[in-house]
Symmetry: D2
Amino acid sequence: MTLTPEQQAEIDQIRSQSNPTLRAVSEGMERHLYTAYPVLDHGFVRVIDYMGDDAAICQAARVSYGKGTKSVQNDEGLIRYLMRHWHSTPFEMCEIKLHVKLPVFVARQWIRHRTANVNEYSARYSILDREFYIPAPEHIAAQSVVNNQGRGDILTGDEAARVLEILKADSARAYDNYQSLISQDGQQGLARELARMNLPTNIYTQWYWKVDLHNLLHFLRLRADAHAQYEIRVYADEICKIVADWVPFAYAAFEDYRMGGATLSKTALDCVRRMIKGENVTQENSGMSKGEWREFSQLLD
Amino acid sequence: MTLTPEQQAEIDQIRSQSNPTLRAVSEGMERHLYTAYPVLDHGFVRVIDYMGDDAAICQAARVSYGKGTKSVQNDEGLIRYLMRHWHSTPFEMCEIKLHVKLPVFVARQWIRHRTANVNEYSARYSILDREFYIPAPEHIAAQSVVNNQGRGDILTGDEAARVLEILKADSARAYDNYQSLISQDGQQGLARELARMNLPTNIYTQWYWKVDLHNLLHFLRLRADAHAQYEIRVYADEICKIVADWVPFAYAAFEDYRMGGATLSKTALDCVRRMIKGENVTQENSGMSKGEWREFSQLLD
Amino acid sequence: MTLTPEQQAEIDQIRSQSNPTLRAVSEGMERHLYTAYPVLDHGFVRVIDYMGDDAAICQAARVSYGKGTKSVQNDEGLIRYLMRHWHSTPFEMCEIKLHVKLPVFVARQWIRHRTANVNEYSARYSILDREFYIPAPEHIAAQSVVNNQGRGDILTGDEAARVLEILKADSARAYDNYQSLISQDGQQGLARELARMNLPTNIYTQWYWKVDLHNLLHFLRLRADAHAQYEIRVYADEICKIVADWVPFAYAAFEDYRMGGATLSKTALDCVRRMIKGENVTQENSGMSKGEWREFSQLLD
Amino acid sequence: MTLTPEQQAEIDQIRSQSNPTLRAVSEGMERHLYTAYPVLDHGFVRVIDYMGDDAAICQAARVSYGKGTKSVQNDEGLIRYLMRHWHSTPFEMCEIKLHVKLPVFVARQWIRHRTANVNEYSARYSILDREFYIPAPEHIAAQSVVNNQGRGDILTGDEAARVLEILKADSARAYDNYQSLISQDGQQGLARELARMNLPTNIYTQWYWKVDLHNLLHFLRLRADAHAQYEIRVYADEICKIVADWVPFAYAAFEDYRMGGATLSKTALDCVRRMIKGENVTQENSGMSKGEWREFSQLLD
């Protein structure tokens, strides 16, 4: 992504205007405000506003648990306790508002997270820009042969070139025709709400997306995961960095208990207990199916 | 939409299998179950399951209001009372599950209604069919000159032909290339999650969509409205017919209080009172802006 | 409500600490932050945090509608347009976090608004204070004879005295016994999660309640309404004053289109049209039931 | 709980009326419909309606994953796969509507689960019955000395008798006074919306509660857990039995992956790997706090 000089000037200008507030301020987050972090070839993520910080999580927890929280003296320990025991409501007390520019096919996955507020650029009202996601060569991969929804080997040489050529040519032609459809020079232009349907889903859209911290972490757990599609994962990765500066204790607990953690079934827990006692547990005597056993084995490697 | 003989046979078969249940049954809805009602050129709506009927709405209201509801003796009167006074929770006690086939650009509007459950066909896992929405000639319209998001005059002759030609040709080429990208004959095919981005948003997708009656009526109020885009309105219209048979009292109240009704501002109500008293109220002395006055005048015509 | 000197000192102290921020700041809201506004005899409402202002609503709307919003030049006009046409998502871009102290029976109504984040004081963990809502004499009213859920005449004299006596005595006895149940002097105290059940619902609880502006306005429309129970309405009224200073354009539009407005059914609209033309419309020829006609007539008075 | 002969007759009567339906029918669930299962001393749970079965979960999953689900041939395996990988949306395709009678302090915990539809008996409209929860002697326990929100030893002898006496006497007096407040014999009765505040939270209320299977399982995981308060856990336990008959595959997967499973942090997983390799891992070299280590050790015992 390259910002126009005008856009960069606008960001610089708004970042130069500080106002006093009585609200809780996250120093780490203030450094990120408004700055557009590039993602993919034309996309970005930037923070437009936020509410709360690590202390706000603890403050809300202490309202709930009153004197009961005194035993956990410090904020970090309390936040780890809350995360470990799935006490989700204190994390809902923080809120973030992002401005995201992203391809439509990524937006379609993203919007499935329903507990959020969204204002998307409307192609019924306005004309979309000529910006399409064209994967970098190292991300053009074949269909996985082991995972129905994943990618396998990277395509190279002629095969990769052919893919790029098709994507570029079809995007260009679709946009040329879109422009031609809505053109109003000497003729009536097609309604924008109709013309947009000619555009492929690698075109970029943008939106404001507002979400509380609990639901954001849930989003990140799923979308920063290795199984998520690369094109949404890079957005999640960028947001992870921002959250780490915004609420450092909460993010560290999230990394330990959610991103790096795993849920074991009753059967798997039982196998772990047997293995620790020195028993030789195999798929056959584990009580698990082959698929479960494979996932379980990978986890313990 | 044309169903394949296999699909029609499957629907006929499932409609021939009746089972006894102790649950509330809506006779009107049973007649619709599983039948696919065509919408647009390849789409459809069909009911897969439902819960509750008009009596279920009243039953829930009577739990809430106890003896307080005795004064409203009959179900129809009670349902009209609930609708009139925005008592929404009893309507949430009914539920419907639809199977919908629809263009992606329509799905993108539809999904903005967040209080619903959705399972959509995944183009990460599976290959999309060659089915694109191509508007019928009478729905190819120019951009409205008065409404930024609306349609104006119908395009005709060469202009209409040009639009159709572009949409058809671009859809065909995009799908040919999609197939070529994922093809695995003698070469590695591109991952499906990438190849799909070459497809324009007039391609069809499908989903199961489950929603409670209160949220469904909210959806219908917005999407069966004259200002909604034609391509989603036809789905809403088809669903309206089904709801009218499912919960006839609730639907009639909805038509009177929501679809056919209107909200007047404090200022507008005041104007109405003055006009009834015979006063000559004009935009200038109304307290309304020109835009508001125009809408108000249209309402009273 | 009387704050302890310690509480007041804490509020004064936190209000004296201003920090620079790059975020949008609402001057009107900064004046309210942390201050506890008394409600009922021991309750209060105070703002703990907020996100956004009138400009944030417009900013989000302009992302959606792009150049389409240029025709509505100013923020006030745009906000009125959004409110009038039920464009709710831009209002969701503002958020508020309140600290509320309120009787349990009020909390039970309040919590029915589901789209909000809540952390409530837990009587499983902690011991409740001896604070009960005892209505002021002017709010002790008889059951309405016309409205199953409303109040009628104010009780006076011996009747009012009797009510106050019962409420005070039962609250005092229940709390004495609660203390005695959990007491741990020389005996085992009953678990707090059990002892709390002895307390009547006029005891005070407190919570942090976070909600977006759209859902807050929906709450206010229902709870600041004349039909809402007095004891929740006074909280809504106090919040209305805060919102009026926070987002003055949005609040003014809300007052005109929601609080002061009304929804007319198709039948009612038709009657209005006939009345404006000079026709003598009566309940008999209106197409409305007696109840509807009564409400309609009151509206036009 | 004892049903009146009239109530039992009504249930018998409705259970004798079977109607044909084309919808999916769960034989296991049909056996439960309408029957009131006693919980606590006056409460009950009963199913009023349901939508879907195990096959409906698979049907929705197969829409999403298309041909991708063919590799998981049978419904049971597919449901286990979905549960293991947190694919929650197919479980949202089933819905249940319960009629529950429960003490107010239990209702206050229950209502915190926001993704559900509720119609509660209103004490603004109607008069509450004289029914209070009085714990059985074996559930009267002291405050836990290790857990701020839990119960410790069972109280016995005089201490238990004292507790029972207080709860019974205060409930009786509160109800007598409630009746006296609303009484209308020869005097004006206090408005019901005010009189109700004199009642303690062990009084029973009732509601219709409708929820999808995914959110129901989340509720059961938290409320059928050993750390949940006994008085809500017994409701969850009773619902578990019903769900096991309704969707046997989903319930078995839930028991294995959720109820009997556990989430390990990154640190804990690392310790498990070290322990399986024969290393002697102690709290000191584990990287965990004392609290975390204690929970971890209990899990592996």
